[in-house]
Symmetry: C2
Subunit: 355 residues, 2 copies
DNA sequence: CTGTTAGCGCTTTCAT
DNA sequence: ATGAAAGCGCTAACAG
């Protein structure tokens, strides 16, 4: 017992010292009849352990229900087993689903998740993140939009050598992360509307700074083209992804000389505003005008009429983004960009073109 | 330099060893001309430090921008500076706001937050939480509804001596935490409806297991009584806090012999379902029937017509719940129950009684 | 393939 | 009121 302070048995008999009742690595070592270093090797999937020894250790771990103490690993090692998810509150639903997915992947791989609310355009973002990294010894970062597009931040992360994973970054394929083909999704949506006989289809776009706005607008134009419809700049108005901006945009479109028969709002919140504006004028959806959104937030099913929209697999997106990050942490270059499938959800807000 | 492995200067010159560039407690001690123990005392607000010494140390900390390494404190001490927020996904909006509030309080007091999604009626909840506590060395727990009402869980937490703080627990005043007078809020809402001339006011309740359902139903009855209106059991139907159950409940009420002129849904999601059911029948809100909800989720402003409802200060609730927990952690018995104010949000879905 | 020996950076005894 | 020494539980070098 050279150097050992307490044996496993003593520990249980003397719960006053140290963390009460906690099983330690040396207890596992003793139980498996090996050294603590060997246990450590097994725990960390290091090579140079015979299959036989490995099995013995694993059995002991199982039997003693041993779990390494996170803070001890962190203090001794170079990894923190901690990743942070940075966000600047877009919609709660979106964020919560992403978060649950990220959490799921982290828990599965025994990583801890730290949440870091940030303000996108604040000029101290880089400094904030930097001190977060230093103080919490972050192993990696999950980026959510629109922080995925902050070039200064990305550059600094690369400089610091901190792995990160992006969700729906504007510049796709360049980083580790997850993407959804929003462009293709909108094309599909336009095909749906054109198939219903609509020829004057309007679009209320999101803020230009968001990648999502760009792809959705591009999909709108390409969708029109594929349907053989002419693009008309007067049918496109700028929104802000907010309910209010959807409401305002719809009124602008309805007041125009030749109002559209269908409106594709850049997201569900704006679509809700569009429906409100139409309803207030005594017009009917989809009888007079068809409306569609994007995101399939809960509101899509809860407004009247229910909303035709595009569903992104948000929970899965979080899970995959985190998994790729953890791969990248384990071995630089092993993470990739995963493309996840969208779904066109046809509901009651779209129907045959009127007149 | 007896026993010291590296001085502050050496550390910066030899970034290969240890954590690169990190300022350690001994650097602060050296800079302040005191022992590391004294620095530790100042850091932890311990007594037995002269004001003069304390000031010197604080200056050094400031100047060196020193932050203790969490894992080292945890490993050495008995506290983990970690609290968990347990939840069983109610609405995203509610949860996200609570979470942001909790996070805010934790960050302000240099505590870490761990998120623990759970399933309310799973019978392994207690075991799950127990292992969470042991493995992560939790200092305390924030409970969100309906987990606040799991008696087995509460009992176990008390047994283990783990402090916890509840948000809107059914059994109020018994624990540390935060509450809102939902009963009084509904009374106020009923006064609003009665004031508009409504005499047949229906209620769609939430699941009986939720404290919220109980208070809201009780407030409905008391509100009627205060307005001099008779309680009629046929005007109360059971819902599940879901959009679908609100839709179904409204149809049931509308099909009855004497339909109500106003419907108070137990939450906003159900109210949205109610509005949909009414609209589908070609009736108008509030022209024919007034509708109100509870919670003031974003949907309340995004449906047509916008919803009269009750707002709870969710972000603040999270913040206060966490603050009280941290007080309790610091000194058992010092946390309390805080009562936060609600707001009656009158919007477009309620109006004068018809006919 | 396996074990030994030092620490990681901080808090805790226990002296002084 | 202050300090010296001894770990907390684990991983990292370096031996064997």
């Amino acid at each position: 017992m050279t150097g050992k302070k307490r044996t496993a048995v003593e520990a249980k008999q003397a719960p006053g010292s140290g963390r009460p009742g906690r099983v330690r690595i040396e207890d596992v070592a003793a139980s498996a009849g090996v050294s603590i270093k060997t246990v450590s090797r097994v725990l960390n999937n290091e090579p140079n352990v015979s299959a036989r020894t490995r099995a013995q250790v694993e059995a002991a771990v199982e039997q003693l229900r041993y779990r390494p103490l996170p803070s001890a690993r962190v203090l001794a090692g170079r990894r923190s087993y901690l990743v942070a998810m940075l966000f600047d509150n877009p919609s709660s639903n979106y964020l919560m689903e992403i978060e649950l997915g990220v959490l799921d992947a982290c828990q599965a791989q025994h990583y801890n998740l730290m949440l870091a609310p940030l303000v996108y355009n604040a000029d101290d973002i880089v400094a904030k993140v930097e001190s977060l990294i230093m103080q919490s010894q972050l192993d990696g970062i999950v980026l959510t939009p629109p922080l995925t597009d902050d070039d200064a931040l990305l550059a600094r992360l690369v400089d610091l050598g901190v792995p990160y994973s992006s969700i729906s970054a504007r510049e796709q394929n360049r980083h580790v992360g997850v993407v959804v083909d929003e462009f293709g999704a909108v094309c599909a949506l336009m095909a749906h509307l054109a198939g219903l006989g609509h020829t004057r289809i309007a679009h209320i776009s999101g803020p230009a700074a968001h990648g999502a706005s760009t792809w959705r607008l591009a999909g709108y134009r390409e969708g029109l083209r594929r349907a053989g419809l002419r693009y008309d700049a007067k049918l496109v108005v700028n929104g802000e992804f907010s309910y209010e901006s959807g409401y305002a945009g719809a009124n602008q479109l309805l007041d125009s000389a030749q109002p559209p028969t269908a409106i594709f709002a850049g997201n569900d919140d704006m679509a809700a505003g569009v429906i409100c504006a139409i309803s207030e004028r005594g017009l009917s959806v989809p009888g007079d005008i068809s409306v569609s959104g994007f995101d399939d937030t809960p509101i899509a099913r809860q407004i009247y009429p229910s909303l035709t929209t595009i569903r992104q697999p948000t929970r899965e997106m979080g899970r995959v983004a985190a998994s790729e990050l953890l791969k990248e942490i384990r071995e630089m270059g092993s993470g990739g960009v995963v493309d996840l499938a969208y779904t066109l959800q046809v509901r009651r807000s779209t129907g045959p073109a009127s007149g």
